[in-house]
């Protein structure tokens, strides 16, 4: 989530979901929260019951819209125009929260006068290289007046990434796993941007840039912002989005009326924002709006990012990404300055803030990996870590696969054959593999692509050997989830897995053990890392199930030991209670001399002693933040930047919205939440000249991960401009009405080829705007839901939502068949003709939209065409995410030519058919109405 990182410092949701109940107004945009996050949606509903106004801005009238007080139809892909209109309104009507903005943002900071805006250059910012289609922020002077621009060979940020090497909270692509990186790029810029830093980053830090508190200087960030959004008038926005000008002003008035000292508003988004060629910039626009309205770091004031999976935050914290080490440390590159730990830390660390302590983090990580083998003499075996030399993120990797450059592949809990953008291209890539291992609960599309793909070749012509490993279900294994609000929750194992199913942990640990056995006698240098790897997760004692029986699973590793290693331990001290290694109580204890080991530094403190697993805490009390329910990294903070909940003097902005405040008697910050600030730093603290580290952050600067300690209205850290700008999607029937000379994002990448044709804007061939969406009844591409008849009867067939007007024009009737064609592929679906979809008036033309759920595929109990076959493979410049929430298509009545799908699993009326154990027949569940064989 670079949009959040660039604005506030950390790329993770600012508050926790329960806090939505404290909001006075909630704008849900780019999210279908009631359908995709129904359990979390109880909190917006609670807020509504307390009198808050809920607003949904979306191309479709969905179940979320039905629960909101106000719904605005907009055209898919015009979110920045709408948000820009809101920002325009706030500035134009002087509704911004002046004390907050002046104290806590860079509104008054003076920007270099050589920086040129889209207003000056007709839709692009200064520093654009037309041939390479990239921005060079240094050449474009995206920096504060007087500050040196960061020299970055690959065109990274001008300003140092205050949030540090990894860019905390790098967002995975909601429903499809990792999407990091860019060509040869690297996680360390915030979320995906630049390659490694060639020069030490300390040279560019500027904690005290020039400011003009009177805002008279036209180069003040807020004056540039005003100028940038001057075009986004309600009439212009309405013309672009297809709504009415009154819709925009009404939403703006609601937000303004519910912001300020006494009231707070929240913004909720999900992949409806991220999966665009301008995704992170949409989130930036939300960040700017919330900074202007003073809705950051306060109860009920937030930008809430709804994640697409249950533990996708965890998969970036303890990363499954190719370019990150655990805890957002960048994976070292093949470049020279990354050869040693010192060179790496010097180039990737920061002189200010917590990233100044990077070496202890890396050394402790190496100790956790290699144990006693990692010593100061051998540079803690830093040389053993794999180095990055190219982009191995998912989309480019599948392209390499298509070219026959990849031999084998492991897939855990993922279904790219139906869930990835341009899924047909992904399936073609899988057919080039020699072998594929799929571990999952069900034999889904990726496991069956070799024989059941209706659009693929005959199985005899597929060379790939597929190994399907049955995986244990969630109830049959223990471990943790990290959810969207950074909350790490432990879950116990309830039963043993069925049959040969095993947990992913079992599989990986035993795979590692076998590899270690195979390499035991090797003397080759490249095998030493495997030989030295610490792999000691054996169970000390047999484990028992909750019913008291002994677990029947052999060789199951102890997940608690993994968590203890993640937490970290002393290598030279023992715990007096059990003579085991003493565990760390937090990341402040990390040392760079090899006396500590720590698997994931940001999680350190989660298991401070052997008998205390804080992820297992389940205490509730009167504190609204519920600090004793599980553990939130970092350091159990529930609301980030919560220093902003108090005014510059340290008093709460209002009694109603108080969270933490300065206690002058005790000389510390107190309140309901763990302060996201130095606990003893007084509000009147001012850094001495030339201060370094945390000393450089003043007592009034809540955004402690930013070098100047304030939220960024002007953010140079983005790769496609310091201000969000409306560009049309890569495929759109409408030209850019705001900047006619620049239709789509100037530096988005698209991998055009015969399997990935693109109907560039203005799209003529395909005039209808399509967007994909989710329904409550199914989960993602369906591998966990389309094998369950209780869910399948609720949503049995692939369908497409069409407005009555479009249906009449095309001769489609409700329930009939529709063929949908994009530049890539053709699919078919049943028509759901509904007024919830509506044609929009855009620039005097009628634009039709269709909504396509992406839950179906060719495997399972109910089958249907793959919606993601329609989507193009493209990459947004910051995080390389694809654009599947807005593309173009055409629809026709009737079926497509290849419609010959049969379910791969026969219908089972009861998804589970075994009798309830230890229960007499008369007391079996009521619904056992089946008298046939097999029923109790």
């Amino acid at each position: 989530m670079p949009g959040l990182g660039a604005s506030f410092g950390r790329g993770a949701a600012t508050n926790y979901q329960q806090d939505l109940a404290n909001a006075d107004c909630i704008l849900i945009m780019g999210s279908n929260m009631a359908e995709a996050h129904p359990v979390g949606f109880r909190w917006p509903m609670k807020a509504r019951e307390r009198g808050a106004t809920l607003i949904h801005v979306d191309p479709r009238f969905s179940r979320t819209s039905a629960c909101c007080n106000r719904h605005v139809h907009i055209r898919a892909g015009t979110d920045i125009a709408f948000l820009g209109g809101l920002i325009h309104y706030v500035l134009e009507h002087e509704k911004w929260f002046k004390e907050f903005v002046l104290a806590y943002t860079n509104a008054s900071t003076i920007i270099s006068d050589q920086f040129q805006d889209t207003e000056d250059l007709d839709g692009i910012f200064s520093g654009f290289d037309k041939e390479k289609r990239t921005y060079d922020p240094a050449k474009g002077h995206w920096n504060y007046e007087g500050a040196p621009a960061e020299q970055n060979p690959a065109g990274g940020a001008t300003r140092p990434e205050a949030q540090g090497p990894g860019g905390i909270g790098k967002k995975n692509a909601g429903e499809r796993e990792p999407e990091a990186g860019d060509t040869g790029q690297h996680g360390q810029s915030l979320e995906g941007g630049a390659s490694s830093h060639a020069a030490p980053r300390s040279a560019t830090t500027c904690a005290d840039p020039p400011r003009d508190a009177t805002l008279q200087n036209p180069r003040c960030a807020i004056n540039l912002l005003r100028k940038h959004f001057a075009r986004y008038t309600p009439e212009m926005v309405a013309n672009i989005c297809g709504c009415r000008p009154e819709d925009l002003t009404e939403v703006a008035e609601l937000l303004c009326a519910n912001s300020g000292r006494e009231r707070t508003s929240s913004i909720v988004y999900a992949v409806g924002w991220t999966q665009h060629s301008t995704g992170p910039q949409i989130i930036r626009a939300a960040g700017i709006l919330q900074l202007l309205l003073g809705n950051v770091g306060r109860p009920g004031g937030m930008v809430m990012a709804m994640r697409g999976h249950c533990s996708i935050q965890g998969s970036t914290d303890v990363p499954t990404l190719y370019d990150l080490l655990p805890g957002y440390l960048p994976q070292p590159t093949a470049e020279k300055h990354h050869q040693t730990i010192d060179g790496y830390c010097e180039n990737e660390g920061l002189p200010t803030g917590y990233w100044s302590k990077m070496k202890p983090m890396v050394v402790s990580l190496m100790k956790a990996y290699y144990g006693s083998e990692a010593t100061g003499e051998n540079d803690y075996r830093f040389a053993w870590l794999p180095r990055i030399d190219a982009d191995y993120s998912q989309l480019p990797y599948f392209r390499m696969m298509n070219e026959g450059k990849v031999n084998g592949y492991f897939i855990f809990g993922q279904n790219p054959a139906a869930g990835a953008p341009n899924a047909a291209l992904h399936r073609a890539g899988l057919r080039q593999l020699d072998w594929l291992v799929v571990a999952d609960w069900f034999e889904h599309e990726t496991a069956m692509f070799w024989k059941d793909d209706p659009k693929g070749p005959r199985s005899s012509q597929v060379k790939t050997e597929v190994f399907f490993i049955p995986a244990a279900s969630i109830a049959a294994k223990e471990g943790t989830f990290t959810n969207t609000q950074r909350l790490i929750q432990w879950h116990d194992k309830a039963v043993d897995p069925d049959g040969d199913s095993r947990s992913d942990l079992w599989f990986l640990w035993n795979l590692g053990r076998r590899l270690k056995t195979l390499y035991r006698g090797s003397t080759r240098p490249q095998d030493q890392a495997i030989q030295a790897l610490t792999w000691d997760y054996e169970e000390d004692a047999p484990s028992y199930l909750p019913d008291g029986r002994r677990s029947a699973i052999k060789d199951e590793p102890d997940a608690r030991k993994v968590l203890q290693e993640i937490n970290g331990y002393y290598t030279n001290q023992t715990d007096p209670t059990n003579n085991k290694r003493k565990l760390l109580s937090g990341f402040s204890e990390l040392k760079d001399d090899g006396s500590t080991a720590c698997g994931v530094w940001i999680y350190s403190g989660i298991h401070p002693t052997y008998d205390r697993n804080r992820a297992r805490d389940r205490m509730t009390g009167s504190n609204p933040t519920q600090p004793e329910w599980a553990y939130a990294w970092p350091n159990n903070r529930r609301i980030q930047y919560n220093r902003a909940s108090a005014d510059p003097e340290g008093k709460p902005w209002s009694e109603r919205k108080k969270l933490i405040w300065w206690d002058p008697q005790e000389k510390k910050w107190v309140g309901f939440d763990e302060p996201d600030f130095e606990p003893g730093k007084a509000p009147d603290y001012r850094p001495p000249p030339g201060a370094q580290g945390m000393e450089a952050i003043a007592g009034t600067h809540p955004f402690i991960l930013k070098p100047d300690g304030v939220g960024w209205l002007f953010a140079s850290a983005m790769k496609d401009g310091p201000f969000p700008t409306h560009y049309e999607p890569i495929e759109s029937p409408v030209e850019n009405l705001l900047y006619p000379r620049q239709n789509d994002s100037p530096n988005a990448r698209y991998f055009e080829g015969p399997m990935n044709l693109i109907d560039h804007v203005p799209s003529k061939e395909y005039p209808i705007v399509a967007t994909t969406f989710r329904v409550t009844e199914h989960y993602l591409s369906g591998p966990m839901s389309r094998f369950n008849s209780w869910l399948n009867e609720l949503m049995p067939e692939m369908f497409v939502e069409i407005s009555p007007e479009l249906a009449a024009e095309k001769g489609i009737h409700n329930g009939g068949w529709v063929t949908i064609r994009s530049a890539r592929n053709t699919i078919e679906a049943r028509a759901l003709v509904t007024r919830r979809m509506r044609p929009l008036q855009v620039d005097g033309r009628t634009i039709h939209q269709v909504g396509i759920p992406f839950h179906w595929g060719y495997a399972g109990e109910v089958v249907g065409d793959v919606a993601n076959d329609l989507v193009s493979l493209s990459a947004e410049p910051n995080v390389s995410i694809q654009e599947d929430k807005a593309f173009t298509c055409d629809v026709f009545a009737g079926r497509s030519f290849t419609s010959n799908q049969t379910p791969t699993k026969p219908m089972a009326r009861w998804p589970t058919m075994s009798p309830v154990p230890l229960t007499p027949r008369s007391a079996q569940p009521e619904g056992r109405v089946h008298r046939g064989p097999g029923n109790p």
């Binding site: 009631a34 359908e35 129904p38 359990v39 949606f41 109880r42 509903m45 019951e49 009198g51 009238f61 179940r63 979320t64 819209s65 039905a66 629960c67 719904h71 009415r244 329904v775 409550t776 009844e777 008849s789 209780w790 869910l791 399948n792 009867e793 609720l794 949503m795 049995p796 067939e797 369908f799 409700n814 329930g815 049943r830 028509a831 759901l832 003709v833 509904t834 007024r835 919830r836 509506r838 109990e861 109910v862 219908m907 009326r909 009861w910 998804p911 008369s922 007391a923 079996q924 569940p925 009521e926 619904g927 056992r928 109405v929 089946h930 008298r931 046939g932």
Partner: protein, 321 residues
């Protein structure tokens, strides 16, 4: 319906008890006749009655607040999972997002969807767009027609004051299905199914174990609330007042007080539109209302016809002679 037959009663009393086979037979016949038309009546067991103050806290029910429903269908799935009900089939209906159509013998919770969407921007004058959602369920009537109509006594009031179908006593006649004015009951008629009538038990088995019914437990927004029905009614009335004070003057309660021929329902609803929009009868009739009159009328017509035909044949024979 009880018919008093004084001769038999008096005769039994005069003969005294235990007077051999004849007396037993006579007693049996007497009971059968006495209990006509329900030949094998349920053994009366003391069940909680909402009217009785001592029982008020024992009658459990549902309050379904449709203004809080988000249409997630978690209740439908939780119900099927707990009760192990089979899926009914995979049919795309094209009727909003509802693909399970209605309550049945194998669907005991059902979420209805009703789209009321303003056609375009000008539609605001006609009222804002709405999408009504409601989780429907057995109403657990206090004077349930299904219970009245059951010839085998399979349908009883259970310890929680709710209507319960005893599977092993049901003979599958289906009278209850046509008797229910809400279309709740259904028969499991698929091949290999038992052919009996089934409906919501208000999770009697969970209640016996001290648990909340599965649907109410799974509802993420507390649209379905479970508890002593008297408490629920109080909360529901407060809720309507609250909503009306906040400007929602469409909100009202259905079944909290008497509706149609029925007294208060043990599962009642907060609605925002006419009951017909939710597929609920505006004034549900008791099917046995006027039954005595109909019986009397039938009897009278029969007698009249008999008399007429007797007249006809007697007159005819006279003429024939």
């Amino acid at each position: 319906m009880t018919l008093h037959l004084p001769i038999l009663r008096d005769g039994r009393r005069s003969d005294g008890d235990g007077d051999g086979l004849l007396a037993t037979l006579r007693d049996t016949i007497g009971e059968v006749v006495e209990n006509f038309p329900n030949a094998f009546p349920p053994v009366p067991t003391p069940v909680p009655q909402p009217g009785r103050a001592a029982d008020a806290q024992k009658v459990m029910g549902f309050f379904t607040d449709t203004t809080l429903c988000i249409g997630c269908k978690a209740c439908e799935v939780a119900c099927k999972q707990w009760n192990q009900l089979p899926a009914d089939g995979f049919d795309f209906t094209g009727n909003s997002l509802d693909n399970t159509r209605h309550l049945s013998g194998t669907t005991w919770r059902h979420v209805k969807f009703k789209e009321e969407i303003a056609p375009d921007h000008d539609g605001d004058a006609a009222g804002p767009s709405r999408w009504l959602m409601m989780s429907d369920v057995c109403k657990h009537c206090q004077d349930a027609p299904c219970q009245h109509s059951c010839p085998t006594g399979a349908i009883v009031y259970n310890d929680f004051g709710d209507v319960y179908v005893q599977n092993d006593i049901c003979n599958g006649c289906g009278y209850c299905i046509s008797a229910c004015p809400f279309g709740v009951l259904g028969r499991a008629d698929a091949p290999h199914d038992d052919g009996h009538a089934h409906k919501c038990t208000l999770c009697m088995d969970r209640q016996e174990g001290g648990l909340t019914p599965a649907c109410a437990k799974s509802c993420p927004t507390s649209s379905i609330q479970f508890g002593p029905v008297e408490d629920l009614r109080e909360a529901a009335r407060a809720r309507v007042t609250d909503l009306q004070q906040r400007g929602n003057d469409r909100a009202y309660l259905y079944g909290c007080d008497s509706v149609g021929d029925y007294g208060p329902l043990n599962a009642f609803f907060l609605l925002e539109d006419h009951p017909n929009q939710y597929n609920l009868p505006e004034a549900p009739p008791q099917p046995f209302r006027g039954q005595r009159k109909r019986y009397a009328a039938g009897l009278a017509v029969g007698l009249a016809l008999t008399g007429l035909s007797a007249l006809f044949f007697s007159g005819g024979s006279r003429r024939g002679r």
